[in-house]
Symmetry: C2
Subunit: 234 residues, 2 copies
């Protein structure tokens, strides 16, 4: 048998202390989120926080959104990543101002970082007023769910290749979002993917959740996504 | 302009405090990991920690591995998830003992939880000696990279639909693993996926990394994966 038994108390003590400090950090985050939201409201900016696993198609969705909207409204993007500014570069190639928020190891954005990033973005805008601010979170379906960034709407993407079981396994992301986008729908024929089950499970966790099925490849659902944004514009 | 400016000092203070406590937690984790590894060594059990984003195919890989090996060697599985015991159920259906470690919100397994889970697994085994213990981590490409569980090898999966840019964006997972499995290779024709680039980027971060390309659908790479396990068996 194992001689590590009996050391659980110290671990539990340390874990509780961490939770206390994290509670304090969450409170700090909440205050800055409130301030961000007030700021966005005052300037009539719609702020959208997009969360998902790595590779669910957040940046691709933004690229398609920019193509559809950039002639009508003013868009800015904050790009969250642990390392690299690859995603901000993709957005800038579309002629849209983007600030890369590199967390350097942290697994989610927080509202203080968003606050700082938004000021950098304002600097790039040189007086042009934004209509929509997209905040692309770090690719992670867990931790970003816990951090309000001051957004008006949280959008969670789950792509078809990830599987229909993800809402029940990652409930916090579903419970705290207003919209679920089931992306890469063109891949349904290649997977044993139960579209009815994923919708039913997601709605069981969050009955007021709106759900869209999209494909950047075929264009499915993109007009409904654009409609969702237009309805929510300030 | 925004009235949240100037409050950065307090945030930074709180963040530093959190890091201190997390350092202590990591140290506790390290001690329990060392104890776990010693225990596995004493019992000649090969422990494999599998990490990836949600839906990269960890459980499917385990199902295929069990099919290939269960008549020759004794296998046990610890299944990490935030909620549900869906994955442990899938493993048990294959006739293999599995313990679900539900983290209840935490975004990764830690070595204390693995220690407790392993004792529960031993209870199910009723004296049968394990050859391999698979530890399927919570679906998250970020946080699990920071926690040694006492494994002998860490395996990271990145599936083709996630994109070839993931090693550079999630470097810690690549740097701390011995094997990268590029899964769902049957989907390459449906994506703009640069196989050479993902391999090159991964090796630039970790020159001693072994890389396998697999598909549970076509069977590509599975015999090499089984070979990797057999070579590492105690």
């Amino acid at each position: 048998m194992c001689d590590a038994c009996g050391c659980g108390h110290e671990h539990e003590y340390k874990e509780i202390k961490t939770i206390d400090v994290n509670q304090s950090l969450l409170k700090t985050n909440e205050e800055a989120a409130h301030s961000n939201r007030k700021h966005f409201d005052e300037e009539n900016i719609l702020a959208i926080n997009i969360i998902s696993s790595p590779g669910s198609g957040k940046t691709t969705l933004l690229e398609k959104t920019i193509d559809a909207l950039k002639n009508d409204i003013s868009i800015g993007v904050l790009e969250g990543d642990i390392e690299t500014d690859l995603d901000a570069e993709r957005i800038r190639k579309k002629g849209i101002p983007a600030v890369q928020l590199t967390t350097g190891g942290a697994c989610h954005l927080d509202s203080v970082l968003v606050h700082k990033g938004f000021h950098s973005l304002e600097h790039q805008l040189k007086g042009i007023k934004l209509d929509i601010l997209f905040i692309e979170n770090v690719g992670n379906l867990v931790c970003p769910s816990f951090f309000d960034l001051g957004e008006h709407a949280r959008v969670v993407l789950i792509s078809v290749p990830e599987g229909h079981d993800k809402p029940l396994k990652y409930p916090k992301a579903i419970k705290t979002s207003q919209l679920l986008i089931i992306s890469k729908s063109d891949l349904v024929p290649h997977f044993d993917f139960d579209m009815e089950k994923i919708k039913k499970d997601a709605l069981s966790l969050n009955p007021s959740l709106k759900i869209l099925v999209t494909s950047a490849k075929t264009g499915e659902g993109l007009s409904e996504w654009i409609e969702f944004l237009k309805i929510n514009l300030k």
